[in-house]
Each structure stands twice: as structure tokens, then as C-alpha cells.
């Protein structure tokens, strides 16, 4: 049956079987991607995915069941009820009724109007350009063009109706450079509204890849460190859980109860921005209206992020930060995180660094992080900087420290904001007083 019929059947059967409320979350995705390597099509993917998650309220508890086949509504309802029956946690998690939302235009991307053939041609062109950019670039690991469209629909028996659509686009280049027997790879990407910036993408890929050819470790020791914009944003991504009220309520965030305290340097402000042009949305994963808020403002911790369940438990209002996926329950998380710009270009930040290390990327970021204690020890690469000038490339080092100390050790925040692929988080370059480095 079609999804509207399926939804209506789910609501009817849920009520018949004694559920006090029922909610459906539908997600439909269409995606296209092509990857070119050595002028040949290496991969080509066309996708159509749909899924519907049912959440029922039964005897005061939530139960979830999910399906990709819209054929058997009764089984889905019974599964969800079975799941509600075993819930032992006493936390209440009611559903929301009808809400009113700000109007948000779906974000447009520059690749939407391209045909499959044009996207293939674009990927071939990107590869040729990066190969031509520097003689040391010998081949690529792939030149990719991707587009996607997603539709989300949230309905429940209390009158909630929230629907939105998003478009996505990405161009990604991964190049291999070789010189004197040394082989290095590097990659760069442009996302969504920036996905037609082939020139910038090619230049960044070529420069970063070739630069790494001369890389070597530095001596083990303590260094002043400049986290370059994308590296700073990427670095923050594994730690996002510390802002979640759910994690705090479960004893897994050291920020529990720290609202109003100074946890970072005064120059550091972090926003949760649901209306950020990269992925704007007017409601969260349970239909609560979203709004822009500072999580850390001038170094002061302002708020944990809440959905209605954690808010009810804490006796506060939801912050509109419910997350949702078709295959899981309602959770808590940021929308789009944005570190507020300070002053100074990247070059000026290098000057502020003076002598030390510039870190431009991490390897296996998730591996070396302890999101509970904030301790980290991660593989990194970048450059050695002396008197504000880059001296040589650096790789095979680890940088180690503690997130909470690092936040207080921030000396300056630049104005060169960039969005990371692992996010969505954007950050300018961040200058840190000292980190422990293991190398030679």
C-alpha cells in the first residue's frame, strides 16, 4: 500500500489495540553518485530508499518498530507494542501535538539540474584538472560527484504534522602524489551550496597532497598548536555527546550541572544553529520548533541540549534538539554547530602562532578520543611553523591532551570558517597554548 494508507492503518490499528498515541516518522531518500578513476567509471550508484518508523505510546511507555516494506501494518504495531511492554525506565516521553513552524525554504544545490551524463562529465573533468595541476600528482583515488534528495514526514495521532525536504550535493577529489619513492594521498571536498567550486577543490586537493610529500615527524615534546579550520571542526565532532542532556543525565558528560560556569577561554563561542544555510530545518526529530542558541558564550557554558524527554526530567523546556532516524528511537544531538568567528585570516593566525605546529588533519579520530574524560591522543599531520612561516610538512605524530583543558587554553579564534565533512560543524582556525606531541 502507499505510505499514506499504511500510516492511516497503523494509526487505526494502534488505537484498536489500546495504544494511547501513535507516531510515524517516514524518510525517503534518492541518491546518485559517480566516481571516476583514470578516466574510467569506477563506481556508479543510484539509490531509492524508504523507511517508516512507528512509535507507540502504550501504558505510558514508548515502543518502536521500523520497516522498509509497507505491507503488514498489524505486525508492525504489535512489534512496537511488544517493545513498549519491556521498557523499565520510568522516564516519561510524551508525544507533541500540532505545532507551528517558521517557513524554511529547502536548500538549493548547484548540481540539482545536472543529468547523470553531466555529472559523469564533471567528475572526469575534475580528475583531469587535478592531474594537470602538478606534475607530482600521478593519479587519483577517485573523483566523485554525488547528489541526494531526502524527504522527512512526522505525523501522530495528537495532530502533529511536520514535513520537510533537503537537497545535498558533494564533489570529492582524492589525489596521489609521488616523488623520490615517497607516495602520499590527500583529499578535499565541497558540499551543498559550494558543490560547484571545482576550481577551489582542485587547487586545495593538489596543494595539500603535494605538500605532504616532504612530511616527517617532529621531536617528541610540548608545542604551541594552530588547529587549521577544517581540522578544528573535525576535532570537535567526536565530543558532541558532552553537550547532550541525555548523556549528562546518564553520568556520561562532565558538563552535567555546569551551566553558568566558565569552561572555555573568553574568545570561544559555540552556536547550535538549526537555520544554518547548509541544512536549515524548522523542527527537530520529534516535531519541536527549533531555534538558534549559544551552547558556550564567551567561554561560559550556557545550556545542555534537550529533547522533550530529557527536558521533562530536568524540569526545563526542550531546546529543539531531538534527533531521529527511521531505525532508532528519538535521541538528542546538535543541529548544525558553528564556532563563532574571531579575527584574522589563516596567515595572520600562523603569525599569532609564531613558532609551533599547524595541524591540518587527523587520522582515525574516533579511535583516540575518550569523550567522557575528554582525554585524547590522536594521529595528526600538518606543518612545522617558525616565526609565523611554514617550514616543512609534518606527519606520523600524535597530539595528546584533554578537551576541557584545551578549551581553556585557546588563545585566539580566526575568521576563516570552514565546514567539515564530519559534522555538520563549522569552525575557524583555533590557536591553542600547548599540546603534548609524540614523534621522533
Amino acid at each position: 500500500m502507499d505510505r499514506k494508507q499504511f500510516r492511516e492503518e497503523l494509526f487505526r490499528i494502534s488505537a484498536e489495540l489500546g495504544c494511547s498515541a501513535a507516531e510515524t516518522y517516514y524518510e525517503g531518500d534518492e541518491a546518485f553518485s559517480v566516481s571516476i578513476r583514470e578516466g574510467q567509471m569506477e563506481s556508479y550508484k543510484v539509490a531509492k530508499e524508504v523507511g517508516m518508523s512507528l512509535r507507540v505510546q502504550y501504558n505510558g511507555k514508548n515502543g518502536y518498530a521500523y520497516t522498509e516494506s509497507f505491507e503488514d501494518p498489524e505486525t508492525l504495531v504489535r512489534r512496537a507494542m511488544d517493545n513498549a511492554k519491556v521498557i523499565e525506565s520510568g522516564d516519561e516521553h510524551p508525544m507533541l501535538g500540532a505545532q507551528t513552524y517558521q517557513t524554511v525554504e529547502p536548500n538549493a544545490t548547484p548540481l540539482e539540474t545536472l543529468s547523470a551524463e553531466e555529472k559523469i562529465a564533471m567528475a572526469i573533468d575534475m580528475e583531469q584538472k587535478v592531474l594537470a595541476a602538478d606534475p607530482r600528482i600521478v593519479r587519483t583515488q577517485g573523483s566523485e560527484v554525488e547528489t541526494g534528495f531526502s524527504r522527512y514526514e512526522l505525523h501522530n495521532t495528537l495532530g502533529l504534522c511536520a514535513e520537510r525536504e533537503t537537497n545535498s550535493a558533494a564533489i570529492v577529489l582524492s589525489a596521489i602524489a609521488e616523488e623520490n619513492g615517497v607516495v602520499k594521498d590527500g583529499f578535499a571536498a565541497r558540499l551543498n551550496d559550494k558543490a560547484d567550486d571545482v576550481k577551489g577543490l582542485v587547487q586545495e586537493t593538489a596543494e595539500d597532497t603535494v605538500f605532504q610529500l616532504s612530511a616527517a615527524p617532529v621531536e617528541t615534546g610540548t608545542y604551541r598548536v594552530l588547529l587549521k579550520n577544517s581540522a578544528a571542526a573535525t576535532f570537535l565532532s567526536p565530543f558532541l555527546g558532552i553537550f547532550s542532556a541525555e548523556e549528562a543525565q546518564k553520568g556520561r558528560s562532565l558538563l552535567a550541572g555546569k551551566e553558568g560556569e566558565t569552561i572555555a577561554a573568553e574568545c570561544f563561542t559555540l552556536w547550535d544553529d538549526p537555520f544554518h544555510p547548509s541544512a536549515p530545518r524548522a523542527f527537530d526529530g520529534e516535531g519541536y520548533p527549533t531555534y538558534r542558541k549559544a551552547i558556550i558564550e564567551n567561554g561560559v557554558f550556557k545550556t545542555l541540549l534537550h529533547n522533550t524527554k530529557t527536558a521533562l526530567k530536568a524540569g526545563v523546556q526542550s531546546t529543539g534538539n531531538a534527533t531521529r532516524s527511521v531505525s532508532g528511537p528519538v535521541g538528542v544531538g546538535p543541529t548544525v554547530l558553528s564556532v563563532q568567528k574571531g579575527e584574522g585570516t589563516y596567515e595572520e593566525m600562523l603569525e599569532k602562532l609564531g613558532s609551533g605546529l599547524m595541524i591540518s588533519g587527523f587520522g582515525g579520530l574516533h579511535v583516540g578520543m575518550n569523550p567522557i574524560s575528554g582525554d585524547f591522543s590522536i594521529m595528526a599531520n600538518g606543518a612545522l611553523v617558525e616565526n609565523g612561516k611554514i617550514v616543512r610538512a609534518v606527519d606520523r605524530i600524535t597530539v595528546a591532551g584533554n578537551l576541557y583543558s584545551l578549551l581553556k587554553d585557546i588563545e585566539a579564534v580566526g575568521a576563516d570558517s570552514k565546514m567539515t565533512l564530519y559534522g555538520p560543524i563549522e569552525s575557524p582556525s583555533i590557536l591553542v597554548r600547548s599540546l603534548q606531541v609524540a614523534g621522533k
Binding site: V86, D91, S373
Partner: protein, 462 residues
């Protein structure tokens, strides 16, 4: 599952633009997952994944399309979407199948047990972990079971049906002494029915191990950084081989020439004390497969013998690129991914060295008793992985527990620096992420010693 007549029409539609090979992968997967925190079940979710994908190949080109709608009409459209990537004359394939059906024995099927049974199991583990110490502030238990049913058919006559049960229970403990908080986790899993929890997995012992590790780390000092010898324990210690070598032997890296082990077959790539295996056939193990996701039966592949590279891990596309036979190594997370070469149960084979002697004669360095996850760049071989439970060794004696250690290096260099391999091998379970999504794999090894490796940590001199 789809009828033979439908399959024929779908593969035929896929071959209209010159595919010299076409394949249909249909999947139906039922999964139950529960989360317990603070001793109470707080999430319980059932999911039903259902869909199919069509892959076409011509020479070394390949295209994939998939759909959640598995009606014949929708799958013919899906086949055409994949075929649109190719631009040649139609190919006629003679469609005749060798029909094979595989299953994994399940004494207690997951659809025969009530959720209460799962809940009781989780409570048992929770109680055991919590009882370890009053410093255990939080104990989270995640449980899941699933049965994936697949049908794989292709224009070369493969028709394989497979039923794949899998279950895992994950304990994550947080210990706190008021100022510090540390984690410990254990996540055993295997390929069988619910009898796993009476025949293979001891939930109480696993929960206790997770809790004990979290408590131990509270008294640990920060690990000093630098270059030093490291003794790595068995079981999950095998993640070092998984990252330092395994990924770089996958045809995904080797085929396009992007691995440091390209062209190294039958040459010495590791110290002579190192032999290694990827074995998808060990009964009931977490990384075991009856058939891979192209329908090829699982195999026991000797990768390295006494330091000499013997085999890569090769899927169908990799076989075309490398002109080497397939090794039963093609895997994918689910129908939303095209399959590619992956590991199954991968381990360093037992050697002859005494683990006590390894520590006694190592001088000053690190004993890594338990490892966390890792990652690698196969092109350069640069890898990293985290030490979950480590001990500082001075003059051949264990001094104290250390935390926050990270090991980094280059695969080819590290393999040559292994100078001891212990006599007994055991394995541990992990999820491995790569091009074709997240797949269950075992890592394993005996206790080994690496002569010198870069250790990252924020501690000063001991």
C-alpha cells in the same frame, strides 16, 4: 523471495547496455535491539530491512542501483538505472542456475523467544558488572539479534540463498572516583541463535571485565609518549594486524595499485615469525560466512606464511583487476552497498615464544593488555590504534597501569619489527567500516612483541 522468472527478466534488463555480468542481491533482515541504562530497559526497537540491489559489470567498470521496493517492476527499473552507466550493445546471457541453499544451525531461533528473555539476560550482565565496585557509576548494556536472509543470483549461474543469524551483547562501564571518569567495554558476539548465551558467551564474565577495566584506569597514570618496544596481548590485540596489514591486502586497495603491498606476492613482507590467516569458515564465529555477498563459499585464506605474502583478499571486481581468483571475501553491510573485498576472521597464527620472557627482556616500554579501535590509510600504510588497558614496563617489570596511549606507525615497517609471537591465539569481535559499509569481523593473535613503535600519550617521564 523473488521468483526465477522475475530474476531472469531483471538480469536481462540489466544486460541491455553491454553488461558482461549482472547480479541481483535481495535481502530481508529482522532485527531486535535493546538498550539498558541504570539497570532499566530504556529502548527497545524492532526493525525490518527489505530491499534489493542490481549490479552490472563490463570489464573493470561496475555500477550499482538499489531499491527498497522489490516488486519485479521496481527491480527492472533498478536494473535499468544501473545499466544506464554502460553504453554498449545488449548482451545475451544464458540464464541457468546451480541452486544452493545455505543456513547456519540455530537451536533457539530469535523469533521463538519473547523480549523478556532478552531482558533477563541483560539484567544478569548488568548486575554482575555493577557488583564489581561501587565506583561503577554507569553500566550500559546494548543487545541485538538479527537474522538476515539473502538471495544472490547472477548471469554466471549462481543462485544462492543464505540465512545468517547473528547476536551480540555490549557492556560499557563508566567508573568514577569523584574527579576522574574512565570507561571500559566488552562486546562478545557470534553467528548463531539465542543458544549463544549458554554455549559461547558468558555475559557475567564479560560485564565484569568491562567494569574492572574502567575501575583499573582510574588509578592509571597518563602514558608517556615516544618510541619504545610494545608487547601486545592476544584477542583484540589482533586489531594491529587488521589495520597494519589486513586492509592493505584487500583488492579494493591492491587492485588500483593503492596499497603498500602491491606486487609483493611471494616476497618477505613480515618478520619470519609471522604467519597470518583470514578464515571465514570457523563455525559460529562473529566474522564467519557460509557464502560471501557474491555467493562464493567462505574460505580459509593463508595470507602470510613465515613472513612471506601468499594471498590477497579478492572479490569479483578485484579478480578482474588483479587477474587472480576470488577468495570468498566479498562482503557488504546490506543491500544499500555494492559488495567489495573485506576481511572475515583475521588473525596472526600461533608461534613459539614465551609471553613472560617477552616482557622480562623488553627493557622499558608498554604492555598493551587490551586495544580499542583503529584505522589505516592503505596507500601509505599509516595506521593508528588506541590502547584501552595498558601497563608501563620498566626494566622488564610491570610498574603501573597507564591510560591514553595511542600506537601509530606504518604497516610494512611494523610487520618487520615483530620479534616475538606467543603460543596460543584467541580472537575478539569488532565492526569493520570500509567502502561497503560496516561488517562484523573477528580480529585475533597470540601475545606478540613489536621491537619499536611510536606511542602517543600526554604523560611525562615515569
Amino acid at each position: 523471495m523473488i521468483s526465477e522468472q522475475s530474476v531472469n527478466r531483471i538480469l536481462d534488463a540489466a544486460s541491455q547496455t553491454g553488461a558482461d555480468f549482472a547480479e541481483l542481491f535481495e535481502e530481508d533482515c529482522e532485527r531486535n535491539s535493546l538498550v539498558m541504562a541504570g539497570g532499566a530497559i530504556e529502548q527497545s526497537v524492532s526493525s525490518h530491512r527489505h530491499g534489493a540491489g542490481v549490479r552490472v559489470m563490463r570489464g573493470e567498470q561496475s555500477a550499482y542501483a538499489y531499491s527498497a521496493d522489490t516488486s519485479e517492476e521496481a527491480l527492472i527499473e533498478t536494473a535499468k538505472a544501473a545499466a544506464a552507466a554502460l553504453k554498449s550493445e545488449p548482451m545475451q546471457h544464458k540464464l541457468q542456475y546451480m541452486k544452493k541453499r545455505y543456513t547456519t544451525p540455530q537451536e533457539i531461533r530469535f523469533d521463538s523467544i519473547a523480549n523478556d528473555t532478552r531482558v533477563q539476560l541483560m539484567h544478569r550482565g548488568y548486575a554482575a558488572g555493577k557488583a564489581v565496585s561501587e565506583k561503577i557509576r554507569q553500566m550500559t548494556v546494548n543487545y541485538f539479534d538479527q537474522v538476515q536472509r539473502v538471495l544472490i543470483c547472477n548471469t554466471e549461474g549462481v543462485w544462492a540463498e543464505d540465512e545468517r543469524p547473528r547476536t551480540r551483547i555490549m557492556f560499557a562501564a563508566v567508573a568514577s572516583d569523584g574527579t576522574n571518569a574512565e570507561r571500559g567495554s566488552e562486546s562478545p558476539g557470534c553467528c548463531r541463535g539465542f543458544e549463544a548465551y549458554s554455549k559461547a558467551i558468558d555475559v557475567e564474565a564479560s560485564a565484569r571485565k568491562a567494569a574492572e577495566r574502567a575501575v583499573l584506569l582510574l588509578s592509571a597514570k597518563d602514558c608517556p609518549g615516544g618510541n619504545m618496544p610494545v608487547v601486545i596481548s592476544g584477542g583484540f590485540g589482533g586489531v594491529i594486524f587488521h589495520e597494519a596489514c589486513g586492509h592493505s591486502l584487500e583488492a579494493t586497495s591492491v587492485g588500483p595499485g593503492n596499497s603498500e603491498f602491491c606486487g609483493k606476492l611471494n616476497t618477505q613482507i613480515a618478520a619470519p615469525c609471522v604467519s597470518a590467516m583470514d578464515d571465514g569458515t570457523i563455525p559460529f564465529e562473529w566474522g564467519t560466512i557460509n557464502i560471501d555477498d557474491e555467493g562464493t563459499p567462505g574460505q580459509r585464506n593463508l595470507l602470510i606464511e613465515n613472513g612471506i605474502l601468499k594471498s590477497y583478499l579478492i572479490d569479483r571486481l578485484g579478480s578482474r583487476r588483479l587477474h587472480l581468483p576470488m577468495t570468498g571475501s566479498s562482503r557488504r553491510q546490506d543491500y544499500t552497498y555494492a559488495p567489495t573485498s573485506r576481511m572475515t576472521n583475521t588473525f596472526i597464527c600461533p608461534g613459539k615464544d614465551d609471553p613472560d620472557e617477552m616482557i622480562r627482556t623488553m627493557g622499558t616500554g608498554l604492555y598493551a593488555a587490551s586495544l580499542g579501535g583503529g584505522s589505516v590509510n592503505p596507500l601509505t600504510g599509516e595506521f593508528n590504534f588506541a590502547v584501552g588497558e595498558g601497563y608501563w614496563v620498566q626494566d622488564g617489570k610491570i610498574v603501573c597501569p597507564v591510560r591514553g596511549a595511542m600506537l601509530i606507525g606504518k604497516g610494512a615497517e611494523i610487520l618487520q619489527r615483530i620479534d616475538r609471537v606467543g603460543p596460543s591465539m584467541w580472537m575478539a569481535q569488532g565492526m569493520c567500516g570500509s567502502l561497503s559499509g560496516s561488517v562484523p569481523t573477528n580480529v585475533g593473535q597470540p601475545v606478540i612483541r613489536v621491537g619499536s613503535i611510536t606511542v602517543g600519550g600526554k604523560g611525562g617521564a615515569m
